[in-house]
């Protein structure tokens, strides 16, 4: 039904354009009297026949349309017709837009669901024998974390460990990357749970700040990439290596403003510097230049 209406509307558009072509030709012929009459007549005949063809196609598409059997069931939206308040008369368009938006969300989430079920990104290590399925946490994680942080030696990067909840299993790492950016890494055992990326002049001291996005687009973008990297490096069996690789990767952002994209050799694309770092080579790239 919807397709038929669409093709009918298209046919009407075609007819209108062919008719206006006819008028244009006659008008221009009137203006240029030099043009000889026979070629003008031929052209006109040609265009009139197109009009004829288009008209016939409209007739056939309209004939193919079925008369709606009864009034459309629009549910409560039908009541909007009776709305007298001019402020609310625009509601219908908004309603249609939000309906479309909702439909798209539905479609995309279905697609995402199939994608995710194909790529296993489960973040916890389950053993089949353990019926209660508890994720494994090392025996003495606090010591392991401290040892790992002390052994990381990266230029222009300082890491501080906090344990705001007093538990040995969860640690907050506050990373300062020269005078460029700040990041907080929340660990459970040695596994990364959450990464927050902020500008050097943005607050990251209170616990709540870890859930507030940076006010700068560039750091929000880096945070997105950091979340991808966190999943990329994730390994339940080699947790320390994974976290260590992640921190090395994060340290490569120290040149975020000073190094152009390796592919396009430019600094800015869509007003953002190269916010992506290759997971292996650590080369700076724009998000759009990755492939």
């Amino acid at each position: 039904m919807e397709n038929q209406i669409n093709s009918a509307i298209n046919a009407i558009k075609l007819l209108r354009s062919s008719v206006s072509n006819v008028f244009e030709t006659t008008l221009s012929a009137q203006n240029n009297s030099i043009q000889d009459e026979s070629s003008f007549l031929l052209e006109l005949q040609d265009q009139l026949s197109t009009v004829d063809v288009n008209f016939k196609s409209i007739e056939s598409t309209i004939n193919a349309l079925n008369v709606p059997s009864g009034p459309f069931t629009l549910g409560n939206t039908a009541v909007l017709n009776h709305e007298a308040d001019p402020d609310r008369q625009g509601v219908y368009t908004d309603l249609v837009n939000s309906y479309n938006w909702y439909e798209k969300t539905h479609l995309y989430s279905a697609l995402a669901n199939t994608m995710l079920s194909q790529n296993s990104l489960k973040r916890s290590f389950y053993t089949s024998s353990n019926k209660r399925r508890r994720p494994t946490v090392p025996v003495n994680p606090a010591q392991l974390v401290d040892h790992m942080i002390n052994s990381i030696n990266t230029n222009n990067m300082t890491i501080k460990v906090y344990r705001p909840f007093g538990t040995p299993t969860s640690a907050f790492l506050h990373v300062n990357l020269s005078r460029v950016m700040k990041a907080a890494i929340i660990l459970r055992g040695l596994v990364i749970e959450l990464v927050t990326v902020k500008g050097f002049n943005e607050p990251l001291d209170s616990v709540d700040d870890h859930w507030i996005e940076s006010r700068y687009a560039v750091f929000r973008k880096i945070q997105d990439h950091a979340h991808c990297a966190m999943l990329h490096f994730y390994s339940p069996t080699f947790a320390e290596l994974a976290t260590r690789s992640f921190i090395t990767w994060l340290a490569s952002y120290s040149n975020i403003f000073s190094e152009p994209c390796k592919r396009c050799q430019r600094f800015l694309l869509n007003n953002l510097p190269p916010t992506y770092r290759d997971f292996r080579s650590l080369e700076p790239l724009h998000e759009e230049c990755r492939h």
Partner: protein, 218 residues
Amino acid sequence: MGVTILTPYPLQNKSGAEAIEELSKRLLALGATQAGQFLVDGDIFEHSFKKIKIHVMHNSEYPASVFSILDNGQKQIPLITDLIFDLLMLKVNPIYSSKKMIKIESKGPRFELGDFLVKLGSVTMSQNQNFKGILIEVDYRPCLVPAFCWDLIKEFLQGLLGQQAPTAIPGYFTNTLPSNNPNQHYHRFNDTYQPIDTVQQYLEHFNNYRKQSQAPTI
């Protein structure tokens, strides 16, 4: 606030209003949104007999502050205070008096484009608002060290201004400054950027405009 570069824009036979309109259109076409207006002004108070000047400046980006720079000819000492400083300057009026003829201001539209903040200022001087030129301010808010992002801002300016974009680092950042160690050349390029740096860049350009307008009388 991040690193801010202030650059004069050559008019090339256009009027100031035309140039501002053209640049505004260009910014909007690049996807910028206009975010209000801005105003930076500068006044000079001169000591009645010593050779000391106090530049008193305001920046609408910091509406609660007064920026003042004490200049004794050899050294410039910046000071950031609350608005009440303006009233204090009135109190010391007999000793330090304002020269209204060389009060200068830059004002115009303010645009946001991604993390960039672009301000198109028309510079006018004295009470009869003599038009002096156009100053473009580009603020790259996420970055705090000029040395880190100068090339990035330069590229941005080239995209916006084309041929008229500056190619060299503004002198404000590269001039060597007095430091405690005479063997060490010190300049602001590697410093963490502060709001006073923006004001001091305006002061340099304002002083240039003042010199230009004084030149014919000498």
